[in-house]
């Protein structure tokens, strides 16, 4: 069968990477960071009443699927998306699309993908990849986080598409049907920054900087609440959410800073460059937080949950300041 010529480029984050590659393939070359920014990918959430492996849900990014839908909407692309009940039908339709020369994005679970390193194969159901060809019973895949193209057996891909549990993909596939050339990115960029600011500064206790403060307040109680051992695993999970594969470093703070830098050039607004520098320094502190949290995990006496909590509270203050500044800037830009 056929293999479609596709510009594979390794990215930091699967969703922004997949979206950027699909757009590039359709003739609109955007960088991953730009897609991440327009798609308003940065976020923070601490949701103690939703449990993941028994620990509070913590996230440094927006909800899965949000980047793709925001970017394609802001760039006026026509998107075709479909979910399936029947796995066999889903695979047949995938083959038909490939026959027509269409590259297809899929939502999958990393648990079933054999080419993902074994240690990273947990039940995470919102991994994005792009199928670009098929030969016999193997699919050729452009996985945004992999350095090269990879082959995946059909049965494994089918399992990955029909994974169960939270965020079950239900065979979701998507592709770009029509992509208007986008001459002016100014409007989408400003829109992207605005939604990020409103998300991060939202008056909701679990979201954005308020979420950070909520987490900071609860951290000193973790040991009491979960017991010493579980509290450590909880901390380990936090570090993984922040740094494990797909964040570009510092829980998406660096990739967003890269976007702000690019936006500064696009909008001829040097102030954005300054904001990018501030965000880089905030990101560096998140990295330091990860180092200290790992020390605490390992039971080193010199780092306590109280210290970590103070670090998070400080990060909340700095991010609040930054996003307020950013919001003020977008108001100026729109005049």
């Amino acid at each position: 069968m056929s293999v479609i010529d596709f510009p594979h480029k390794q990215a930091a984050h699967c969703e922004s990477g997949a979206t950027a590659s699909l757009l590039s393939h359709a003739g609109v070359p955007l960088s991953e960071a730009m897609v991440f920014g327009i798609g308003a990918g940065i976020f923070f959430g601490y949701v103690p009443f939703v449990k993941l492996n028994g620990f509070p849900l913590t996230t440094y990014r927006s909800r899965p699927g949000a980047i793709f839908s925001r970017v394609t909407k802001n760039l006026n692309c026509v998107v075709k998306q479909k979910r399936y009940r029947n796995p066999k039908q889903a695979m047949v339709e995938l083959d038909q699309l490939l026959e027509r020369g269409i590259v297809v994005g899929l939502q999958t679970s990393v648990f079933w993908l054999p080419y993902i390193p074994a240690a990273l194969r947990f039940h995470f159901n919102a991994h994005n990849l792009i199928v670009i060809g098929k030969e016999k019973d193997n699919y050729l895949i452009s996985d945004p986080v992999a350095p090269e193209l990879v082959w995946c057996p059909a049965q494994d891909l089918e399992n990955a598409r029909f994974a169960q549990g939270a965020l079950a993909p239900k065979g979701r596939c998507y592709y770009l049907d029509q992509v208007p050339g986008c001459g002016n990115l100014a409007q989408p960029i400003v829109q992207g920054i605005r939604s990020v600011c409103s998300d991060m500064l939202a008056p909701i206790p679990v979201a954005g900087v308020r979420g950070m403060r909520l987490m900071a307040r609860s951290m000193p109680k973790w040991e009491q609440k979960y017991g010493q051992r579980r509290a450590r695993y909880c901390l380990a999970q936090l570090v993984r959410m922040q740094e494990e594969i797909g964040t570009g470093g510092a829980g998406f703070r660096f990739i967003y800073a890269a976007f702000l830098q690019e936006a500064a050039t696009h909008l001829h607004t040097p102030q954005l460059e300054t904001v990018a520098q501030d965000l880089t320094s905030i990101g560096d502190s998140w990295r330091e937080f990860a180092v200290q949290a790992t020390r605490c995990c390992k039971g080193r006496a010199e780092v306590s949950y109280g210290d970590l909590s103070a670090m998070v509270a400080d990060q909340a203050d700095r991010e609040e300041h930054l996003f307020r500044q950013l919001r003020a800037l977008t108001k100026q830009l729109n005049k």
Partner: protein
């Protein structure tokens, strides 16, 4: 983070590389390949250790006849009753019953085959405990996580 500070601590990624965003000499962001980072390796190892401890407990329960071997395979696949129920299409209350040795031992071959296929093992393997857990933790691809300071 500056480009030259991007860590290269191999571990969970095995021989693979992912990319980080870092600053070059001129202060511009660029994509930089990284082999991994010690704190991440450590956090990941702890997540597997958690599973390993659970498996140890389940092994004891299976040996002492409190739980069925299905419980072991379910735990090893990082599943709980709800998730196993969605994957197998067997109702939760039935899955819960199948975790009891008395019920599990009387299961028909069709249902056993169904579970075995889901966990990628044979029926003979499914009805007993494997000798080793075969977790990524034991493959030796883990940093000791001490070199970051």
């Amino acid at each position: 983070m500056r480009k030259e500070d991007v860590p290269q601590d191999s571990g969970v990624l095995e021989d693979n590389q992912v990319v980080n965003y870092a600053l070059d000499d001129k202060g511009n962001y660029c994509l930089t390949a990284t082999a991994g980072w010690a704190p991440v390796n450590e956090a990941n190892r702890m997540a597997w250790e958690d599973i390993k401890e659970q498996l140890l407990q389940v092994r004891q329960d299976v040996t002492s006849g409190k739980k069925s071997p299905l419980t072991y395979y379910m735990t090893r696949a990082q599943m709980d009753v709800a998730l196993l129920s969605s994957y197998s299409g067997v109702a939760r209350w039935r899955v819960r019953r199948h975790l009891r040795p008395a019920v599990f031992n009387k299961l028909g071959s069709e249902l056993l085959q169904h579970y075995a296929q889901l966990f990628g093992v044979s029926v003979e393997q499914l009805v007993q405990l494997p000798a080793t857990d075969d977790l990524p933790l034991e493959s030796g691809a883990v940093d000791d996580g001490e070199q970051y300071e």
